[in-house]
Structure formats: structure tokens, C-alpha cells
Amino acid sequence: MKTAEKISERLRFKDDFEKIEFLADSIQLDILHELADNTDIRKTDIAKKMRVSNSFISQLFSGDKHLSLNHLATLIYHYDLDFKFELRPKDKGKIVRFSDYINESKDAFCKNAESGTKYYASKYKEEETRKISSV
């Protein structure tokens, strides 16, 4: 086996748990970069506000320690930051809303409002269940 193959083999995630760990680490790095790269806030100031040591901040930036929601809230509060959070299915094309079904076949819906509602409501529920299970 080639050296590079050995390295790839070692680095590859062994299970879902390792994938989730990596995902958590990368989300943390994104948040910290957002803070450090887009503001004038220094790491030493962050440490003071969070009442932690400078080395703790370094460990956060290396992913060795985890950023808690409390840490994040402390930063948002002290630096008067605007925090936006978005969570959505990766495959945006498959997002289906009740209103989409109504627009899709408005005529059919109007013909029999009662049965139409039931039909579309069940389709919507089906789609929602599928989305949740795919996540």
C-alpha cells in the first residue's frame, strides 16, 4: 500500500459518530472564524469577556475544547452581535410546502374542497415524514 493510501485510510471517518464529530468541529471553526475574521475582536478580549484563559481560547480555535451555547451567547451579548442561524435540508429542490400543492392543481382542489384538503394534507404529511427520516 502506498504512503498516501495509508494516510487516507487512517484519516477516513470510521463511522457516523466520527462524521458527526467532524461536523461539530467544522461548525465551531466556522463560528469562530466568523467572529475573528469579520470583527476587530481580539482573542485576548474574548478570553476576558468569557472569563476564561487565553489558552482556553486557543483550544477553542483548535477544536480541542468545545464552544458551548453559553460561550456563544456571552459573545453575542458583550459584543452586541447580530446572530443568524439557518437550518434547512441540503437538497433544497425537494422542499415541498402545502401551498405548492394547492398552486400545482388549484382546479382540482376547488372542485372538491373537502376531499382536496384531506388529500393534500396527507401528501404534505408524507413529504414531511420523508424529509425527517432522510435527515
Binding site: 502506498k2 504512503t3 498516501a4 493510501e5 495509508k6 494516510i7 487516507s8 487512517r10 484519516l11 477516513r12 471517518f13 466520527e18 462524521k19 464529530e21 467532524f22 461536523l23 468541529d25 467544522s26 471553526l29 472564524h33 475574521d37 486557543s58 483550544q59 480555535f61 483548535s62 477544536g63 480541542d64
Partner: protein
């Protein structure tokens, strides 16, 4: 003379972050010095080391620098170090050459330094960076 290199497959990261495939970053390892390459392989045996290496790869793929993980060596535009700070990792650093050509960025993993001395010990870093900076590679198309 140019050193022999091998490409490290990082597709497992693209399985999670498909958009990072467009970052145009490729990671290679210098295998000219087998002993040195094997030291890097052995270092990445531990779970913590693997986890940290993947975090470093994430930073690289995002074209970011972070003085706790991956930082350019002062005075060298084309040399960077992967930092495994702390007693647990023995303050290990993996030195890499950064090559940018034809719109792609290549990270050449080259040397592993491990010492209990602090990261601020510049002499060792400078020696490693000078060595790396002189190396030449031909990147396959």
C-alpha cells in the same frame, strides 16, 4: 532534483461538504524520504491526531489560516505548519509547502517535527521552513 510525491485522497470530506470540492485544493505527501513519510503515517495513528488533522484539512479547504491549527511560517510565503499544540501532541508540527499553480492550491506535506519545546522556539521552525522552501515538485495535471 525533484522529490517523489503521492496524492492523498480527501474525498471523504467532500462526502460531507460537497461544496468544498470546488475549493481547488489538493493535498500531497513528499515520499522521497521514506523514513520521514513513515513517521508522518505513524503520527497519524492516534484518534486525536487524526481528528486534528481533519480539522486542519477543513481549514485548508476553506483557504483559512488559524494560529491554533494551520499557519504560515513567518518570513516564508510558501511554507506553512500544521500545528498539534499541547503536551498531548508533543507540540508536533507538520511542515508543508504551499504551491499555487494553474488556479489550484497544492499542499505538500513534508516534514514532521516533534519536541517538548515551545512553539515559539523559532530556530527549529526556521530550519524546517528553509529546508522545505528549497524543495521542488512537479504537480501532476
Amino acid at each position: 532534483m525533484e522529490n517523489k510525491i503521492e496524492k492523498i485522497d480527501i474525498d471523504y470530506i467532500f462526502d460531507i461538504y460537497k461544496e468544498l470540492k470546488g475549493s481547488n485544493v489538493e493535498v500531497y505527501i513528499d515520499v522521497e524520504n521514506r523514513k520521514e513519510a513513515n513517521r508522518i503515517v505513524a503520527f497519524l495513528h492516534g484518534r486525536s491526531e487524526r481528528k486534528k488533522f481533519n480539522r486542519i484539512l477543513y481549514e485548508i479547504l476553506k483557504h483559512r489560516y488559524n494560529d491554533s491549527l494551520y499557519q504560515k511560517v513567518k518570513g516564508f510565503a510558501d511554507v506553512a505548519e500544521m500545528r498539534f499544540l499541547g503536551k498531548f501532541f508533543g507540540n508536533a508540527r507538520i511542515y508543508c509547502k504551499e504551491i499555487t499553480e494553474k488556479g489550484k492550491k497544492v499542499i505538500m506535506v513534508s516534514l514532521l517535527y516533534k519536541s517538548q519545546r515551545t512553539i515559539k522556539d523559532d530556530a527549529e521552525t526556521k530550519t524546517a521552513a528553509e529546508k522545505i522552501s528549497k524543495l521542488t515538485y512537479t504537480i501532476p495535471k
